[in-house]
């Protein structure tokens, strides 16, 4: 099976041109093609997982298939290849499963949208890129797919391109990611400069023995910038909340399985690199932890259902990054997996609500459970999972992270994590109480969504419940004996930590019920009392504004300064030079005629000169 | 009788036996050329006469009957007269283009005869790309017509040559495709082999559709019958030939009839069994079949009114082309089925 694993991304990739060029006019066929492709991929992913499991392939001894792609002997070697290890297998499964469900869901959600077919083509390409990223066996390939994922996210976020916000959000995601990607690219090129290879396996072998840790640390930090951008960690998180301008299924896909997971996945993939650098690990851990808290606090004050979920994603991603930072890659990946299911469920549920109401403000909803039984039930399950109540999936993975943090002696981070868990429970149930229970608002009548939408919800709900069981301390730590670097570490069940997190979650839920579960003016009063804090939270700590200000003030100010400098200092000194430049420029401008023939003439002149140069040895005596 | 022409050729070759080989080649080539030219001139003269007579009988008239027995010398008189006419080159004409166009149009008209198998062993040059050579050379006729139309600096002439380009370039395609069916059956481009392959069954029986397409497209290619838009005198005077006088005009006329004979000869070669036939000498059979073809061309011409340019092009692209493609497909499948039945394999 593994030898055919390359088909997993290729199938949806083929679906893309088929939809674009052939079936575009026939909506039904387009959806069918996309779903069939991803379903086939899913089946193959299951096969891969099974084989990895049965053959006992480990992270240290992965299966690799590669063909040379770009080769300059002695200078550069880039392969096109796939790398299969437990990490890959798990990610493949998660991505294909979530993508499959999202696509099925989209059939109902996008029904009637003029861009139906192109939506499915983008989804296919998006899944294909993510799958390619997961399978990539070297940095170059991963970067290639990384960029493709970015491109698709841009396309999908800006799907309603006629809406200015959507277009702007797409652009924002694109630009922010470019910044991060640049860092990432710099990082792995540094690595290439040091080790002469992009290949993960070769790097993993080479890194531990490398002496110049300072340089390595720089490279690692640069590589980390990539996940910061892609997984929306502070300070490059600004694009993610805006990304919900895209169709909701896309948000589900981005937030659960594809886009943001890519950053975390990269951390896991490059874990060898980080593991050898404690300082960088610390940075990773604190960035993750800070992001977790930071975005959880923002989520508390948001009113838009998708925005709340978006900040929650950021928060959870912070968790994962933190887990990576504290050295428990396994925990991070475990949480990534469970989170994928319940976050997808949450978004799809939210989509179901939006689909029914055409409304995103939770305070204008209410009492939805009467009309939307399935949606409500599944949404509550997901929320419980997110809040971390046993025995749901979120509990086990979050617990693993907290336990790992605690075990590795990051007490501060542990406390922070616990606080986040509390906040998480609070804001999720604030959302649930306000939107699904509470009083019915006038004018809004929900109705249950069609089967294509509810069935994925139900499947995901089941997964949200059971997916945690693969990694509980009571089930032999199934996950951590599967996905690990070095030694499989068995975290002993830390009942104290479990208990605390359960209590904290219950407290959060309880507080939410107090504030929002019944008619109350407490939230308002608190908001009034702490108006400035509230505003701070509502406005997301003014990060966007700060960025804007920074750009306006700092960049423009700097430009102003440079301008002054330029005009008065440089010009003053180099006036003569400037004149010379201008005159020569005027002459040189003639080269830029816009006339094709002139260009061709120049090209052929160059050809002649090169030919002369190359021919010089042949002619021997003629030239020399 | 059978060997009269091959005998002459052999005799002449015998005369040249002593000469160096290159001289032999060139001399024999020239001889063939002279033979072909004589054939063309004679044919053109008498086809014009025939055309006038046939049209006359179709129209309940008598036609030329004063000069010579049954008016047989009429075309001679016309030709001599044209030779003696004033040669006018219109002011404003592109002189050299105007002068050279009739010559150019005559060259391919003669060249195509190289691959016509006039009889058993009577093929001037048995090229292995025979039919393809025919198509290639014939396609250059358009250039000459364009030159004639352009050189005259006359609006009617220009319109006519534009029409001719549109028409000839279009109809070349179904013409080629219709021939492909025959080539597939014969398995060769060589005209001698195509004729040989028809010893038992004429390809018109196996390729009736292709023959029809060939006939229509060839009518258009030689600007005859309902497809004579290029020189539709009711609309554009005489098309590209409007400004030509005397001998130059005669050359156009001549090449037109030469083309008529050559497409008929090719039709005979490809579809009507070439020179195969009982009792009579092979070359006579060939000629008889060619004249039957020519008669059909004339019959059509004097029966149908002229088609309109957009119908003409539409007919080509919408009917003939798909039909010829379908014919190729059917032929291919048919050959395969035949192989399956006879050889037991694909």
């Amino acid at each position: 099976m593994t030898s055919y694993a390359w088909l997993i991304p290729v199938l949806p990739a083929i679906a893309f041109p088929i939809i674009v060029f052939i079936t575009r006019k026939v909506r039904f066929l387009s959806a069918l093609v996309a779903i069939a492709a991803i379903a086939a991929s899913f089946v193959m992913a299951v096969g891969v997982l099974q084989e990895v499991f049965l053959l006992g392939i480990t992270m240290e001894h992965p299966v690799e298939y590669a063909v040379p792609w770009l080769q300059i002997p002695g200078l550069l070697k880039i392969e096109a290849g796939i790398l299969i290890d437990p990490l890959t297998a798990v990610m493949l499964l998660v991505v294909t499963l979530v993508a499959l469900l999202v696509e099925i869901y989209s059939v109902g959600y996008m029904h009637g949208d003029p861009g139906f077919s192109s939506f499915f083509s983008y989804l296919s390409l998006f899944s294909a890129s993510m799958l390619g990223l997961v399978l990539a066996n070297n940095y170059f390939m991963i970067f290639f797919f990384w960029e493709l994922v970015g491109l698709c996210s841009y396309l999908l976020i800006g799907f309603y391109y006629h809406k200015p916000e959507a277009a702007r959000a797409g652009l924002k995601a694109f630009v922010t990611n470019r910044v991060a990607d640049f860092g990432f690219m710099l990082g792995f090129f540094f690595l290439f400069a040091m080790f002469g290879t992009f290949n993960f396996r070769e790097l993993a072998e080479a890194i531990p023995g490398y002496q110049n840790t300072a340089f390595l640390a720089l490279a690692a930090a640069l590589v980390f910038i990539g996940p910061i951008g892609k997984s929306a960690q502070f300070p490059l998180h600004v694009w993610l909340p805006d990304a919900m301008e895209g169709p909701t299924p896309v948000s589900a896909l981005i937030h659960a399985a594809t886009m943001v997971a890519a950053g975390v996945y990269l951390l896991a993939r490059a874990f060898v690199l980080f593991a050898s650098l404690p300082d960088v690990m610390l940075l990773v851990a604190y960035v993750g932890g800070f992001t977790a808290l930071f975005s959880a606090t923002i989520a508390v004050a948001q009113r838009d259902i998708k925005r709340i979920l978006a900040y929650s994603t950021m928060s959870q991603l912070g968790y994962m990054v933190m887990a990576m930072g504290v050295g428990s890659m396994t925990a991070g990946m475990f949480h990534l997996m469970t989170h994928a299911f319940f976050k997808a469920l949450l978004f799809l549920g939210a989509g179901s609500v939006i689909h029914a109401l055409e409304e995103q403000d939770i305070f204008r909803m209410g009492g939805l459970y009467k009309d939307m039984k399935v949606t409500t039930t599944t949404f509550v399950i997901a929320a419980l999972a997110l809040a971390g109540l046993p025995p749901l999936a979120g509990f086990w993975s979050k617990d693993e992270i907290l336990a790992a943090t605690f075990d590795h002696g990051f007490t501060g981070l542990y406390i922070l994590g616990t606080l986040v868990a509390f906040l998480t429970a609070f804001y999720m149930f604030r959302l649930i109480f306000v939107a699904f229970f509470g009083k019915r608002r006038a004018g809004l009548h929900g109705h249950e969504s069609p089967l294509t939408m509810t069935v994925p919800l139900l499947i995901l709900a089941v997964l949200s419940v059971v997916s945690g069981f693969v990694g509980t301390p009571f089930t032999e730590h199934g996950f951590s004996t599967f996905v690990y670097y070095g030694e499989p570490h068995h975290v002993e069940p830390n009942y104290a930590v479990m208990l605390i997190s359960v209590l904290v979650a219950l407290a959060g839920i309880g507080l939410a019920w107090l504030f929002y579960g019944r008619p109350s003016d407490v939230p308002e009063r608190i908001a009034n009392r702490y108006r400035s804090l509230y505003n701070l939270l509502v406005n997301k700590y003014y990060i966007d504004e700060i960025y804007l200000w920074l750009f306006r003030r700092v960049v423009l100010g700097l430009s102003e300064a440079f301008n002054w400098h330029d005009r008065h200092v440089v010009d003053g000194i180099f006036d003569g030079v400037g004149d010379m430049t201008r005159i020569s420029g005027r002459k040189l401008r003639l080269l830029q005629t816009g006339n094709l023939q002139t260009y061709a003439l120049v090209i052929f002149t160059a050809v002649v000169i090169i030919a002369l140069w190359m021919a010089a040895p042949v002619f021997g005596g003629v030239v020399q | 009788m059978e060997n009269i022409f091959t005998g002459i050729a052999a005799y002449l070759e015998g005369l040249l036996a002593g000469a160096p080989p290159w001289a032999q080649t060139i001399s024999m080539g020239l001889l063939y050329l002279v033979g072909v030219l004589a054939f063309i001139f004679l044919n053109a003269l008498y086809l014009i006469y025939l055309e006038r007579k046939i049209s006359a009988y179709m129209q309940q008239r008598i036609g030329p009957n004063r000069l010579g027995p049954h008016g047989l010398l009429q075309s001679v008189a016309d030709a001599v007269k044209l030779l003696g006419k004033e040669d006018i080159i219109p002011r404003g004409a592109d002189k050299w283009v105007f002068i050279i166009a009739p010559v150019i149009i005559f060259i391919p008209a003669v060249m195509v005869y190289a691959i016509i198998p006039f009889g058993k062993g009577m093929i001037p040059v048995d090229l292995n790309i025979g039919v393809f050579y025919f198509l290639a050379v014939a396609s250059t006729t358009t250039i000459a017509i364009l030159m004639g139309g352009w050189g005259a600096n006359n609006k009617y002439a220009l319109l006519g040559s534009m029409r001719s380009v549109a028409q000839m370039v279009s109809y070349e395609i179904p013409l080629t495709f219709s021939i492909l069916g025959v080539i597939m059956l014969a398995g060769s481009l060589q005209t001698s082999r195509i004729v040989a392959a028809q010893e038992n069954v004429w390809f018109i029986l196996l390729q009736p559709v292709a023959f029809l397409i060939y006939f229509i497209a060839a009518t258009a290619e030689v600007n005859r019958g309902p497809f004579d838009l290029v020189e539709g005198e009711q609309e554009i005077i005489a098309g590209p030939y409007t400004e030509y006088t005397g001998m130059r005009y005669a050359l156009f006329y001549l090449s037109e009839y030469a083309n008529l004979v050559s497409v008929s000869a090719l039709a005979v070669t490809l579809f009507l069994g070439g020179w195969h036939g009982p009792w009579l000498p092979s070359w006579l059979w060939f000629l008889i079949k060619v004249y039957i073809m020519i008669f059909i061309f004339m019959w059509v011409r004097w029966t149908f009114p002229r088609i309109r340019i957009d119908h003409l092009l539409g007919f080509n692209w919408k009917v003939l082309l798909p039909l010829s493609l379908a014919n190729i497909l059917v032929t291919g499948v048919g050959i395969k089925i035949y192989q399956l039945l006879t050889l037991g394999r694909w």
Partner: protein, 102 residues
């Protein structure tokens, strides 16, 4: 005795004449004609190499046919462009077609 080099030289000369035409002519159609000459020159070389170096195979001729096909497509598109430009500008001189400057 005509050798391969004769053909190569002929091809080279034809190529350079075509190049000159493509570079130095005003009329867009003339530029196209220059390019056609260049392509023909290339074909001469291909066929000559085929004939002198590998007579048993027809690779060079096959490539020449590909070149001819590409040339046909190129001419069709090129002329369509010229026609279109002519319709808009009533001009087919390349000199005035300097829109690439923007």
């Amino acid at each position: 005795m005509i050798t391969l080099n004769h053909y190569l030289a002929l091809g080279g000369l034809l190529f350079c004449i075509g190049l000159f035409g493509a570079l130095a002519k005003k009329n867009a159609v003339a530029v196209l004609m220059g390019i056609e000459l260049m392509l023909n020159a290339v074909n001469i070389n291909l066929v000559a190499f085929n004939h002198f170096l590998e007579p048993a195979r027809v690779t060079g001729q096959v490539f020449a046919i590909f070149v001819i096909v590409v040339a046909a497509a190129e001419v069709a598109v090129g002329l369509a462009l010229v026609l279109n430009i002519y319709r808009r500008r009533l001009e087919s001189n390349v000199d005035d077609l300097d829109w690439m400057k923007w």
